[in-house]
Amino acid sequence: MLIYGLFATYYVMTVNLVYFSIMTFSFRQILTIFRRAAFSKYNTLSGSELVPPVSLLVPAFNEEITVIENVKCLLTLNYPAYEVIVINDGSKDNTLGVLRDEFELMPLPDPDIRQTIDCQPITAVYHNPKYPHLYVIDKPNGGKADSLNAGINLSHYPLISSIDADSLLEKDALIRMARMYMENPEETVAIGGDVRIANGCVIENGAVKEVSLPRKIWPMFQATEYLKAFLGGRIGWSSINGLIIVSGAFGLFRKDYVIAVGGYRGGYPGEDMNIIIKLHRYMLENKLKYRIAFCPEAVCWTQAPDTYRILSNQRKRWGRGNLKNMIENYDMAFNPKYKVMGLLTMPYNIIFEALNPYFKITGLLALIGYTLLDMTHWRVLAVFWLINFLSGYVLSIGALLLEELSFKRFNKLSDLCKLLMFSAFKFFGYAQLGGLWRIQGHIQFLRNNNSWGTMTRQSWQDKGEAAAKAAKPAKSA
């Protein structure tokens, strides 16, 4: 038992040391990212015919509350040539109806659909010449991956971008990504954007007008998590070309390569991670020079789950998707043929992400049992817990430093204090819940339970009004 307790302690130290190393790569990159963002103006590029055109794919399932605002936001991006393809994935609500009414859409008599990737048969494609860049696909429910594949089959442009229907893109987000693509078009196969939590922000006309932190605790915890994952993790992983995921909420892809790998894999969540693993595999097996990049200055704002039930469902789904991807691609782990992906990213994800909750929880239980049996001093238990807490907190502070060095989105000293507090509170229950949800996700996977779970939406307008109301008294005070 003692040996296992020691093993768990060293495991926690090792996982955090690996994370420190990745964060060091992020720190090495952050000043370049800051300068790139600060010293680039997009007034010429966003009107240039030299920018590659992009098809924005927006899968929508029961999104009647948010979809109009999101589509309006997408139709007004600072980008010279793009189309918006909304895919109504057999919604049970009136998603298609509200879209048809708002944009006066009519069915296209003979839509030009290429069946390059298998997907559910498309029922109809809606269009209105008044909105020449907007298409709406209607199809039976087949999941998010299937919707993206349907969108690819209709898309007219060489680059595709997947965007969640509950997210809002900043006006410059796409042009920032395109600029990054243009810097190395031959090797860039995918670029991920930064996803930030919109809860608590003041939203007007489909855009975040005033950035603020969420007022509820669940989104607040997620805000600290997202900062750590995106700034602390993804910048570092992308700098060594070991990025394993481009968030489904906002990513840009070369269409030819997505088609070459057979499109998105349906049937399971985690399609955003799966497509990136497939792209890595394809490029490495075919010995093609490539990069999968991360563009933290291209920001997409998303509604974070604000209740326990919705959040736990989301995290269990992520746990299932992650496990499925690891099992499907276990052959890549420790395989030098797959370079950074095989020697670092996959082993890290299997040992330190998928199996993390098991080691942490069993290690803690072993030490508690050992203490109760009076076989060791309580100090050992305290040391284990302190290592867990402090090393994790160092990483959270590192992520906040990265934010402060580069983007400085939060403009109040109180925001910094709140972020520091919640980064610490996270270790008193929330982190443990995260482990539990992941284990529950694994159990669901083993039981073949593949339901999406409940996901309710709130209108952006309601959220914006609530945030504005909350901001006004604060200002007058």
Binding site: L6, V394, L413
Partner: protein
Amino acid sequence: MAGQHLGLAIAFIYVCLGLIGIGMLLLFYMKIRYLRIQRKTKEYLRKHQDYFLFLQAHLGDAEELPLPPGKLGDLERRVIQQRVTEWIEQFKGDLQQKLIALCYNAGFVREDLKLLDSLFYGRRIAAAYRLGGMRAAEAVPRLLEMLKHQKYSPLSIVLARSIAKSAEQEQQLRDMLIHLLRHGKPIHHLAADILMETRLDASRLLLQLLKEDHEDLVKVALAAMRGQEGLEEAPALGRFAFALDRRETTA
């Protein structure tokens, strides 16, 4: 044995505590400093509102534009410089020239030229960016030198754009393209977009590039000509593109 492990673990804890302490101090220092700069910037923008209105009203006059009266602090000067540079981007012709002259007379260009010698890379890049904004032709040879020694990165694009904005000779633009394209990346579209920032006669320049032996320069010219209206030699594009494609296919 267990004591050794515990000792190591406790050392790890002390390291973490040290890092947390340093991190927090840095965070508060950076945040307070940033908020102070933000507040001061807003104050200066408010203070000089009348001056900015004066500039707008007298942009068309024959006289040179002055700086606001009185001694200006470093940040105050930077705030004014930033506003004037934004206008330089928006205006063309004589109005733009007057604003550029203001930057010279106010000493903004001189200060940033000095900063190109800074030991700090960040300051050199920031100065290069601002010099491009102010269309500082004197800076071009130095910027070309910087671009020549710059490893390919997003900051190469920043330098190249500054050169394109400021260059007064076609040869400088050609050199800029050569330095930018020497890394072998197929960035002809981006290079064309950068090239079109020039104040020089774009049509003449593109036609000269089309006659180059350097294949990358021809490709940049072809890319830049896409969407350029009124070019008499447009039919020649097809011929060039065809010749290039054929050469690539044969190879």
